[in-house]
């Protein structure tokens, strides 16, 4: 009897393609995405992209910059393109815009006084500008700077050490000084040769205590009371918006099933009018859902909703429209609620994983970050992040707005095309 019950279960499962999809395809899709996010690291982190500005342009600073470029844990960009070099201001702007997580400024005078043991006076301080949405990057960069300094500037370090010994012992003899100078020259030659060879991939680590003094400054998110909460409000909000939109679109399947659609379409209502109405309803519902989410964020987690109200209204409107369009298209492509439920789970969870609703995209490998842009979650989250995190004006999200509006139009057109099967036969 128990075997019969098991057999009946499998017979039913075999004929329920939605359940089969949920049981086998969705887990595999998720496994693949998360394996892509975390599995490709092979125990290490991806190189950190930094903007590097050499204001000093001395022999020492060039040596140091070359060492940083050769460092496997970093991917150094000295300019936005091959022709232009970053300045301190443009590098800071790049970090603010989210183009790079960290910028390193080598200030004027660095070559004359590069070493500044943290408890010793002197030493020109590097400036590390950081986007605090990625709290680890700046610390890793700091550590790699120390390592690069050790490797690239042993002569400067020895010279600085000699000065300290000189001060502490009351002065070196001429012979001692000559020996030191010759050793320092040998070190310089060694460092030059070493820095010309690319370094082996390095595992990132924490700060190792400084021979090069540096100031780390958060240029993005420094005023945020609760870092990253706005990001998660957007990420989670968009994901649930998709579920809501699909459920709202699915009402059409019920209406087709119980004859209500026949009745509606035999009245003055046309299919286009009906779909526009459904889109409007789902978009309004989604807008309310996002509003409630951000209000709760403002109340409980200090998300600065009211300071960014304009940006929120724009992003919430276009995001709701895009997700409603997708919900309608999904519903119109299905024949039953059960089918819709399975398809929605697969599509929404996959889009959310790739688009950064579950895991921030900045911690994903670069290829996944690029793939993420095929989902509108990524565009919506980018828009919200620009407004709430980077505190950019609403005019800076025009691209995100256009993409989301375009997505809404395309999804609606697909839904309209698919809905022809309900219209007449």
């Amino acid at each position: 009897m128990i075997l019969d019950i098991i057999r009946t279960g499998f017979l039913n499962l075999r004929r329920d393609r939605g359940a089969v999809m949920l049981s086998f395809i969705v887990p595999i899709a998720f496994f693949t995405i998360f394996a892509g996010i975390f599995g490709s690291r092979r125990g290490g982190t991806d190189p950190i992209r930094i903007a590097l500005v050499d204001e000093d342009r001395s022999e020492v600073s060039r040596q140091f910059v070359d060492a940083l470029k050769a460092e496997g844990g970093l991917r150094v960009q000295t300019g936005p393109d091959t022709l232009t070099l970053y300045t301190a201001a443009s590098a800071e702007a790049a970090v603010r815009a989210g183009d790079l997580p960290v910028a390193v400024i080598v200030p004027k005078g660095f070559g004359e006084n590069p070493i500044g043991f943290e408890d010793e006076p002197g030493g020109t301080r590097l400036r590390i500008l950081n986007d605090s949405s990625d709290p680890i990057a700046a610390q890793v960069v700091y550590g790699l700077i120390q390592k690069s300094a050790m490797v690239s500037m042993p002569d400067a370090m020895a010279a600085e050490g000699t000065k300290i010994v000189d001060r502490a012992t009351g002065g070196l003899t001429a012979a001692q000084r000559a020996t030191m100078d010759s050793s320092i020259a040998a070190l310089r030659a060694y460092a030059k040769e070493k820095c010309s060879k690319p370094a082996v991939q390095t595992h990132s680590g924490g700060p190792s205590g400084g021979i090069v003094a540096a100031d780390i400054r958060d240029v993005v998110g420094e005023n945020q009371k609760s870092p990253l909460v706005a990001f998660y409000a957007a990420g989670i909000g968009v994901m649930f918006l998709l579920f809501t939109a699909s459920a709202a679109g699915g009402a059409m399947l019920d209406e087709a099933d119980n004859g209500t659609l026949d009745r509606i379409l035999s009245s003055r209502v046309t299919m286009t009018t009906l779909l526009l109405g459904k889109l409007g309803y789902a978009a309004l519902l989604g807008f309310l859902q996002l509003s409630v989410m951000f209000l709760w964020g403002a109340f409980a987690f200090h998300v600065e909703l009211f300071r960014h109200l304009g940006g929120f209204l724009v992003m919430a409107t276009v995001t709701s429209l895009a997700s409603s369009g997708l919900g309608l298209a999904l519903a119109a492509s299905c024949k039953t609620r059960a089918q819709l439920s399975s398809l929605t789970t697969l599509v929404v969870l996959t889009m959310s994983a790739l688009g950064g609703s579950m895991v921030p995209r900045f911690i994903m490998p670069e290829f996944l970050q690029k793939i993420g842009f095929v989902t509108f979650n990524a565009w919506a989250i980018d828009g919200f992040t620009k407004i709430f995190w980077r505190e950019e004006p609403v005019t800076h999200v025009w691209l995100q707005v256009l993409v989301l509006l375009g997505a809404a139009v395309v999804f609606f057109a697909i839904a309209r095309r698919l809905a022809r099967r309900w219209e007449v036969s």
Partner: protein, 290 residues
Amino acid sequence: MTAPLWIDSLVKSYGERPALAGVSLEVAEGEILGLLGPNGAGKTTLIRCVVGRVIPTAGTISVFGDPVGSPAARAHIGYIPQEIALYGRLTAAENLGVFGRYSGLEGGGLRHSIQASLEWSGLTERAKDPVMSFSGGMKRRLNMAAGLLHGPRLILLDEPTTGVDPQSRQRIYAMVEQLRAQGVSVIYTTHYMEEAERLCDRVAIIDHGKIIAMGRQADLVRQSFGTQGELVLLCDNGVSHKYTVTDPATEIAKILNKARAESIPVRDLTFKAPNLESVFLHLTGRELRE
């Protein structure tokens, strides 16, 4: 005066399979036309063509002279589908409001229509209750009312009494008769022959996509059976004998005389005149269709 419904040589095929194979009919002002046929005969396809939900392969349909599917034709038609096409979570009044607005009603006109429809369907006291709490009969009545809010002149009723108790069925009959009294034309689809006999002025029997008989019931019976009837003689020993008779007055006397002459004790004698069901089975056969 243009006919409320005029259909000429209507054909609808799904691939190779014809659902309608040249249907022609006309419904007069204030007439109730019963549409009968076995499952899959083409009744629902015909109704959906008239509503504009199915595009015919060939043929013409006009509603009060307007081509089917046009806004004017839609405004004339009240469609009551076979299913309970209502929103279960909404109240009766809210449902009527929704479908009234979809039909172009608003303001005072809509409010008046809702009130009148609630009274007509006997649901005034349940106006504020959600439809999901209604019995099958109440849902059926509201289903009808929702299709008639805008005062259509041609009503398409697709099996309106399916699954309702005798009391609700009587109420629905009364509602249909009220429509007739208002001069509204009705196409009434049903599987219940007694409904057609009671309500319909004329009956059309459709099978395999064709109208195989159409007319008044008495005419259809006469065309199929003439004056023929069935006489059943039940003997004391429980044996029964069936006779087909064409002149009951003389043939019944003959049969009884013969029974007396042969000393056969008669316990019961019944004469069954053919009815619509006899015509239906005579024309469509007794084989199962599904």
